[in-house]
């Protein structure tokens, strides 16, 4: 590929599935290695971090619970942006991005609920409580499952693209609700200590491992997402080729 094709602008370049496959194929190994490295660093930092004076060792769960929750919301935001891409600009790969992110986002949401539950039991005496934060994350999980169900119900992926995009955007209102739920309501879940206007209230010795784990999870997400997008592109090609083959038989 000559330099002139790259200078077309990466955005339009990414609209072409073949070019996307080529580009993503080149980035993927580096991304995967980076994910593993940052994850290793993050895990080391979080185990080296001091134990909380109140919670003891259980605070370790924070380093996998909070990043999972961050990613659950970030994944949905990525899907929402992709949905805008589908509806407004009809970007050819936007619905591929949205569809392939679904199982990954659902997994992160599941993990945030599960690790939160495992944190809550020893700390606050209960596996679950229907406060605003937990309820809205649970609703997010339901939305992921609903969108997965929608895609499964429609066998033509390009026809499912726009309804799924509309539904994703309608559900996006849940994301700010999740974020601000601990401020707006009196919840068992603790209030925000990282993303606050006044700056984080968490001690740096715990903040840095947390941020590194957050970065690690983000890299893991993008690695998995790129891989899933490639799978989805291949899946659609197989479908198109099969249809073409079936049509040519009739001639």
């Amino acid at each position: 590929m000559s330099d002139t094709t790259i200078s077309q602008g990466w955005f339009t370049g990414l609209a072409n599935p073949t070019r996307f496959l080529a580009l993503s194929g080149r980035i993927l190994p580096y991304l995967a290695v980076a994910s593993v490295l940052v994850l290793a660093v993050g895990l080391y930092m979080s185990f080296a971090a001091p134990a909380d004076y109140q919670q003891g060792i259980t605070v370790q769960i924070m380093y996998i619970h909070v990043p999972a929750a961050w990613l659950a919301m970030m994944c949905y935001s990525v899907m929402a942006i992709a949905s805008v891409g589908t509806l407004v600009w009809r970007h050819p790969l936007a619905d591929v991005a949205a569809k392939s992110a679904l199982p990954i986002g659902a997994a992160f949401t599941f993990l945030s609920l599960l690790t939160g539950s495992l944190w809550g039991r020893p700390m606050w005496g209960t596996w679950w409580v229907w406060d605003a934060r937990l309820t809205s994350v649970f609703v997010l999980f339901l939305m992921y499952l609903g969108l997965i169900a929608l895609h499964k119900a429609m066998d033509d992926p390009s026809r499912a693209a726009r309804p799924a995009a509309v539904l994703t955007l309608v559900g996006f209102i849940n994301i700010p609700i999740i974020k601000f739920s601990v401020d707006w309501w009196n919840t068992l879940h603790q209030p925000a200590s990282v993303m606050r206007l006044d700056g984080p209230t968490i001690d740096p010795s715990m903040l840095y491992p947390l941020l590194v784990m957050g970065l690690a999870y983000t890299l893991v997400f993008f690695t998995l997402h790129l891989m899933a997008m490639r799978n989805e592109i291949w899946r659609r090609r197989v479908r198109a080729m099969r249809r073409q083959a079936a049509q040519s038989i009739g001639r």
């Binding site: 060792i57 619970h65 599960l114 291949w234 080729m241």
Partner: protein, 56 residues
């Protein structure tokens, strides 16, 4: 259950889930590549493919 076992369970569940997602994506990719290879072996080409055929 001791507090340590809760921590252990959380990390284990996270590892299992993330590895599970990774494995399912890898297997899915392999299956798709296999299908593409089969179709190409049958001589079916995508309309936009060149004669040398690269569906990378």
């Amino acid at each position: 259950m001791s507090h340590e076992s809760f921590v252990f369970l959380s990390y284990a569940a996270t590892a299992v889930t993330l590895v599970g997602v990774l494995v399912s994506i890898l297997l899915d990719g392999r299956a798709r590549k296999r299908e593409l290879a089969e179709l190409e072996a049958q001589g079916i080409r995508r309309r936009s493919q060149t004669a040398t055929g690269s569906s990378q």
